[in-house]
Symmetry: C2
Subunit: 229 residues, 2 copies
């Protein structure tokens, strides 16, 4: 149990893609999933559901399917995002490091400690705003993992194997599988959260007008958006 | 500054619809918005933007437009969700209390201390999963408000007046306005977070199978989903 302050949690929760072999004990899973279900949703309808996959027979099969999908998706991304070109040819560049991290991540995804599929039970036609009733709960999930000493990452790897996953896990057709979260105890060193400068993301009174108070605190680490250049 | 623990923050952040007249000082807005920008997004593209509206001329006009939209939307909801029927006729019922809270909220929305419009800069066609790159940041926003002594609520009130808001605030056409967040210092008493029992929301191995560890902690308060019955 490593609970930290709320503001510190928001500042330091980042994608974690390397895990030890440790399982997440039930008392920690309980805390993490309970925290997720405290999230807001439209009219407090609570359409969010969480399918937890550890090491039962369905979990093992689902992890295998999702792991294969992840490997295929990453192989494509290496080409489309040019991970093996430009600075990617330099072993020590951020691009090459990211590529090694991702390759290790997708190759080991089938044996990560826990996969969680956050889902949304739809009550009307799909639309972009429906995400407001599921992704806040996903963020609670990630933050609660941080609070209890775990880490994870939000991915879309289920998407390519939805047809196989739905019957396996008995997920009804009207249910939107919002993402695939992998989770475990962080292994090795993980760098700080890196984002664009706050002044590029926060406006006041009008689009693109940066307020005078939008100043990053000392020590903030930066990165440009998207795959490394 | 009332920072609390991360797990406690996740457990106690709820919709706040009544505010004092206090403004939110720049140093607190800075903390709240900076925390929002620490959120994850697909490939760390950081497509999230936040338009903050306080008391400038555009803010006042936007608040007026959104306030009117909120009143109109609530008037409709009173009818469609039957707030004045059934238990709604009993002054002390949860339904009648919720109706009074909402009426007060929409009638005062034009003068709430801060409105924030979280936006997503699209780089591909709209889809339900794009919410994964904006609503986690919105949840960070709500949690950071809680950490600094403020509260707010996520709404969709901008939707009916988007045509007026876009030119006023110079929000480009390709930008998705994800929600309208109102925020201020909480006024009066606010009840605890109430949700469905965890066992109805968390499954393991298969849809609708509740794991043995999905047990709400002592003291958890419950409610059914959606508008009060």
């Amino acid at each position: 149990m490593t609970d930290i302050s709320l503001l510190e949690g928001l500042a330091t929760t980042r994608a974690i893609r390397r895990y030890t072999d440790d399982r997440i004990p039930p008392e920690d899973l309980q805390k993490i999933l309970w925290s997720a279900t405290r999230a807001p949703s439209g009219s407090n309808r609570q359409p969010f559901r969480f399918v937890v996959l550890q090491d039962g027979p369905n979990a093992r099969e689902a992890k295998r399917l999702i792991g294969e999908a992840a490997q295929a998706m990453w192989s494509k991304k290496v080409v489309t995002d040019q991970y093996e070109q430009g600075s990617g040819t330099d072993h020590n560049s951020p691009k090459a490091k990211m590529a090694r991290t991702m390759q290790h991540y997708v190759d080991n995804l089938h044996c990560c400690p826990v996969i969680i599929l956050p889902c949304l039970v739809r009550y009307r036609a799909p639309n972009s705003m429906e995400g407001g009733s599921i992704y806040p709960a996903v963020q609670n999930l990630m933050l609660a993992a941080r609070a209890t000493g775990y880490g994870g990452v939000i991915t879309g790897f289920h998407h390519a194997v939805e047809k196989e996953l739905r019957p396996l896990l008995k997920i009804p057709e009207e249910v939107f599988i919002a993402c695939t979260v992998t989770m475990g105890k962080p292994k090795g060193r993980h760098g700080p959260v890196r984002r664009k400068p706050m002044g590029e993301l926060v406006f006041e009174e009008s689009w693109d007008l940066t307020p005078s108070w939008a100043v990053d605190p000392e020590g903030t680490r930066f990165t440009s958006g998207g795959p490394p250049g």
